[in-house]
């Protein structure tokens, strides 16, 4: 095996930059036309940034979980996932100003009136400024540090033959998975679920995680397709694409399972403080809310179900784009309705009654495209820092001869 060095093709760079610029222009126009509604701007930023941060982190999770599973097939695409993990630090840094300046617009529990709300008073020991910031810093720093350590260890392995780096990757992965197991759930409660502070759901953490895991698998598949079209990754075949496609398909179904479980149990039990979450979405965002199910479940189910589809580059390419957009929309649906409802109440009784809930506008699409562009540029920049093939990985041969 030989090291395969990578320089980002000019076309990929210009696509990334183009997305970033077009997105930024749309976003700025969106901001200027929505200056009267800061909650919308900050919530869009939070949902989009958190989404891309977690997609990058799910790439790291994939590497760690496959390493702990002693799996061999993924070794050839390991560097792609590690490049995604390189985005974690960027997302973490961007998270801080969003929380710092946007917190009082996004989170209704930060309002001074929360002191008169008995439910929020009961939750105050957990939902308060100090503890929230402490947790946020632990997540963001912890994730970035693990991403740095795991990726550095893997890259060092290229120049040091032997088993030592592989053994330390096992230890690092195990510790990271423990940390991630707890923080993936609690961060979902903090950043997204606390937008609707009266409401809670016990499977919210997994739901958020699976959403980003599907999206990160779609990103990996997209990167395989793009890199192969530029002549890189000679040893990655349709067998690897097929396996990534299986992950996309299986976790789309898992996502639908959690979406449905949460929805049906709450609908069936019909307890007002729980159903309010879904009532806000059914009534104010009917198309987008059920649209996420079509994009993230019905579409992948019907398109990716056959073996041939998961091995066809064209079909996979379209499915990846739909899934990446669909799960972003899912994050938007988790964040925006709660924040908009709280905002409408600050307008006074009459205005709240006639409040028109904003749909997808230039602001939201612009933010999505901006982060798509940023993510593409950061990930490909990270990818060009190391060989595309981890030459000294002990399972490299298993990955080359892999056959599903």
């Amino acid at each position: 095996m030989q090291l395969e060095s990578f320089t980002t093709p000019a076309r990929v760079k210009s696509v990334g930059l183009g997305l970033l610029v077009i997105g930024l222009i749309m976003f700025v126009i969106g901001v200027l036309t929505n200056m009267d509604n800061p909650a919308r701007i900050w919530t869009t930023l939070l949902a989009t940034n958190h989404y891309f941060l977690l997609v990058g982190l799910a790439g790291l999770f994939f590497v760690a979980s496959q390493t702990m599973g002693y799996n061999g097939w993924f070794v050839l695409i390991k560097r792609l996932c590690e490049a995604m993990a390189g985005y974690v630090k960027v997302g973490a840094i961007l998270m801080i100003p969003i929380l710092l300046f946007g917190m009082k617009y996004i989170y209704h529990w930060t309002d001074p009136h929360a002191a008169h709300d008995p439910i929020l008073v009961g939750k105050a020991p957990y939902l308060n400024y100090g503890f929230f910031w402490l947790r946020s810093i632990i997540y963001l720093v912890g994730w970035s540090v693990f991403a740095f350590l795991i990726v550095r260890n893997s890259r060092d392995h290229d120049s040091h033959p032997g088993i030592k780096h592989y053994n330390s990757s096992l230890v690092l992965s195990a510790v990271f998975l423990l940390f991630f197991g707890v923080t993936s759930s609690t961060s979902a409660w903090d950043f997204l679920m606390s937008i609707d502070p009266h409401w809670y759901s016990t499977l919210y953490g997994w739901y958020t995680f699976i959403s980003t895991f599907v999206a990160s698998m779609a990103v990996v598949a997209l990167m395989i397709i793009v890199l192969k079209s530029f002549g890189y990754l000679k040893h990655v075949t349709e067998e690897h694409l097929h396996d990534v496609g299986k992950f996309m398909f299986a976790f789309s179904v898992a996502w639908a399972y959690l979406w449905f479980s949460q929805h049906m149990l709450i609908w069936y039990a019909n307890i007002p403080e729980e159903t309010i979450y879904f009532r806000d979405r059914w009534e104010n965002y009917p198309v987008l809310f059920f649209g996420t199910v079509v994009l993230n479940f019905v579409f992948p189910l019907l398109v990716l179900i056959s073996r041939g589809a998961k091995r066809r580059i064209q079909i996979m390419f379209v499915a990846c784009l739909v899934i990446i957009f669909g799960h972003w929309l899912d994050f938007y649906m988790m964040a925006m309705p709660g924040s908009m409802k709280a905002y409408s109440h600050t307008l006074g009784h009459d205005a709240a009654h006639h409040f028109v809930y904003p749909g997808l506008g230039l602001l939201e699409i612009g933010a999505f495209l901006t982060f798509c562009g940023l993510f593409t540029m950061v990930v490909f920049w990270e990818l060009s820092k190391a060989s595309l093939v981890p030459v000294n990985h002990p399972y490299i041969k298993e990955s080359i001869i892999h056959h599903t």
């Binding site: 449905f260 929805h263 049906m264 609908w267 069936y268 019909n270 179900i305 056959s306 073996r307 056959h403």
Partner: protein, 184 residues
């Protein structure tokens, strides 16, 4: 009476390599019989992909539609029940049963189809080409009704002897042994 030529191999890897050689020589393999599934054998034999899962999809879709139709008909027309004040057409609560019936229809349908295609049944007790293939040997079978001349037979034997074959046996069977293509 049906005639078959059976080449016996002691190792799965030898079998796959032999299959490739035989294919290159342009001979038609009737079937390979092994004690366990072998990864990559179907590729070496150039078998077509089974259509069983396509049938499974349609069985499943039938189950989905049957469940949704049945529950909707019962709850809105035939015998509407008041369950906790929920509406009659309560799609959310139909989903779990729809899921179960989808799985049931797909599973039962595929099992029945599989048995029919493979001509399997509890009432059939055919003799086996070579009893060791259920335990530790691997067999490559040729249909001698297709290769019935002395010349063909010698050609098959020559090709097989260039592989790591352990024995070459001629078998006369009471029943037809169906080929891999006929069973997929």
């Amino acid at each position: 009476m049906y005639n078959y030529l059976v080449g016996i191999y002691g190792d799965d890897d030898d079998l796959i390599q032999a299959v490739r050689k035989v294919k290159d020589a342009g001979l038609e393999i009737h079937d390979c019989l092994t004690p366990f599934p072998i990864h990559g054998l179907e590729k070496a034999m150039e078998l077509k992909e089974s259509r069983l899962h396509t049938a499974g999809f349609f069985y499943g879709a039938t189950g989905t539609m049957f469940a949704l139709f049945c529950m909707t008909w019962i709850q809105t027309y035939s015998w509407p029940l008041n369950v906790g004040g929920k509406p009659g057409f309560a799609l959310l609560s139909f989903i779990p049963i729809t899921f179960e019936l989808t799985v049931l229809f797909a599973a039962v349908g595929m099992t029945v189809t599989y048995y029919l295609r493979n001509r399997l049944s509890i009432f059939r007790h055919d003799e086996v080409l070579d009893v060791r293939i259920t335990d530790h040997k691997f067999a490559m079978v040729f249909d001698l009704d297709k290769y019935d001349s002395e010349e063909d037979l010698n050609r098959i034997k020559r090709v097989l002897q260039s592989t790591k074959v352990e024995e070459i046996n001629l078998r006369e069977m009471q029943h037809k042994v169906y080929s891999a293509e006929e069973q997929s």
